[in-house]
């Protein structure tokens, strides 16, 4: 059995992190750690060393963009793929922009979780 991919899921909605963690771990492919505070995401990432980070943008304490900048500024994490999972964009906009906006891959909420799995697999494979 291949080792599980580590996914860090950062979203200030605890119901989302809880259900998505259950779903992703239920696939047997992932080990998921969740974080509901943007400000704590960097520390969690340093400790967890994820293969991919799913990151919300509009969070109560810290903007997802700032979190991404912090992660990019960390030598150990700068190559970790980040996928934004946000309600701020429409699915159509994501499709029209080829899945990436300003260089970052995006997933528009709400989305069926099997599609989240597809995006995670694609980006983990692309990162190497």
């Amino acid at each position: 059995m291949p080792p599980k991919q580590r996914i860090l899921l950062v979203d200030d909605e605890a119901t989302i992190t809880r259900t998505l963690k259950l779903y992703l771990e239920g696939t047997g492919l992932y080990e998921v750690r969740t974080e509901n505070r943007g400000a704590a995401a960097l520390t969690a990432a340093r400790a967890f060393q994820p293969h991919l980070i799913l990151l919300d943008i509009a969070m109560a304490d810290m903007d997802g963009g700032e979190v991404a900048e912090q992660i990019r500024g960390d030598d150990a994490l700068k190559h970790t793929p980040i996928v934004f999972l946000t309600a701020l964009v429409k699915k159509r906009e994501v499709v029209a922009s080829g899945g990436a906006i300003a260089g970052y891959p995006y997933i528009a909420k709400p989305i069926e979780p099997d599609k989240v799995v597809q995006v995670i697999q694609r980006h983990i494979q692309a990162s190497g």
């Binding site: 989302i16 259900t19 701020l88 709400p110």
Partner: protein, 385 residues
């Protein structure tokens, strides 16, 4: 602009004093009695031919209120009549020039009077022109009022929609997150409920459908209410049509509806926001797919209308057409003829909004041979780069 009114002298604007009138009447009486008593006088000079034209001159003086000239004419008539009559009776031969001078003076008075009539006519014409201008100004004012009222309502609507837009964006964000939780949870449970447990499976399918429907309503509301701006670029219409068709082809296959493209070559480019216009076509094609029974056909056609600089895009379906009572409401937000859960009622409202942002028009009509036809008309002259 309304012409300034010209002040007219009314015929009795300056009334002839009774005394002057009496003098004149007396003098005229003397003139005619003199001519009657001593016909040898003025008749010799052609009384009727020379002096009768004085009568209108006299009347004109009266009407214009030229008292002195009137009295002078009457007195001169009396003097000439009596003088020439008595002289003729006495056998004295008087010169013709006083009569000639008098008649010339009378004709000058007539000419002045005629000038006044011209003046009156000009004033009447001027007044009529002013009335016409006033009428036109009234019509313009009514048109302006209507335009203003329309602009006012549009402003209110735009302000209302701006508020709705802000509200929709906020609500959308707040609703999308719970929907995400719901969808993920439903999918998680679907994997764990045995297929044999039909009731729970049905329940979960319904919950999934409900979540997707709520998502579609939120999307439609956002499309309808978010800021209406288009990024117009010179684009060919046909590639945009093909991209939109690609986006709905799975839906068409699922509905077992065939799609035919009849796209004319060499069409001029249009000022298009390809992304937004694609959305219009997706909405229209989705409606057509929903309205067409399995085995039916949708035709998308583009062409230049002959003799007009108009580019036409038509989407025809072979469905049942649109009920007459629904015709006037097709573009109303939240109006739908689809079964509950099938449509948000925002597709055509959004489509019209985007089409109008392209300064194009969209109309829907039933086809005589059955089904409906959506026609989008672009003005090539205005839109071409």
């Amino acid at each position: 602009m309304i012409a300034s009114r010209r002040r007219l002298s009314a015929p009795h604007g300056r009334a002839v004093p009774p005394r002057a009138l009496a003098i004149s009447a007396g003098a005229l009486t003397v003139a005619f009695v003199g001519a009657w008593l001593f016909p040898e006088g003025l008749v010799e000079f052609g009384f009727l031919e020379w002096l009768l034209p004085i009568i209108p001159a006299f009347l004109l003086c009266y009407y214009r209120g030229w008292t002195r000239l009137m009295v002078l004419l009457a007195a001169a008539m009396a003097l000439l009549s009596v003088g020439y009559g008595v002289a003729g009776f006495a056998g004295i031969n008087l010169p013709e020039w006083p009569v000639i001078c008098f008649v010339i003076a009378a004709y000058i008075a007539i000419a002045l009077g005629a000038g006044w009539f011209r003046e009156v006519r000009a004033a009447i014409d001027e007044r009529r022109a002013a009335e016409d201008e006033l009428r036109q100004a009234y019509l313009d004012l009514r048109a302006s009022h209507s335009d203003l009222q329309l602009a006012y309502w549009k402003l209110i609507e735009s302000g209302r929609l701006e508020s709705v837009g802000r509200l929709a964006a906020g609500v959308a964000h707040e609703v999308k997150n719970p929907l995400m939780t719901l969808l993920t949870g439903v999918h998680y449970l679907m994997q764990r409920v045995p297929a044999a447990d039909g009731n729970v499976r049905t329940l979960l399918d319904d919950m999934h459908t409900a979540a997707m429907r709520a998502d579609a309503v939120i999307m439609g509301l956002l499309d309808f209410a978010t800021p209406r701006e288009v990024a117009l670029m010179p684009e060919h219409l046909n590639p945009v049509v093909k991209r939109a068709v690609d986006l709905v082809k799975h839906e068409l296959i699922a509905a077992r509806v065939t799609l035919a493209l009849a796209l004319s070559d060499g069409l001029p480019r249009l000022a298009l926001d390809a992304f937004k216009f694609q959305q219009v076509l997706v909405n229209v094609l989705t409606n057509a797919a929903h309205a067409t029974p399995p085995g039916g056909r949708i035709t998308v056609r583009t062409y230049n209308r002959v003799g007009h600089d108009v580019l036409i895009l038509e989407v025809e379906d072979s469905g049942t057409g649109i009920p007459e009572e629904a015709m006037g409401k097709l573009f109303d937000p939240f109006f739908t003829t689809k079964p509950t859960g099938k449509g948000t009622g925002l597709g055509l409202a959004v489509a019209r909004q985007i089409v109008e942002m392209h300064r194009a028009s969209i109309t829907i009509a039933n086809r005589p041979e059955g089904g409906a036809r959506v026609t989008i008309a672009f003005d090539v002259l205005k839109e071409s780069p």
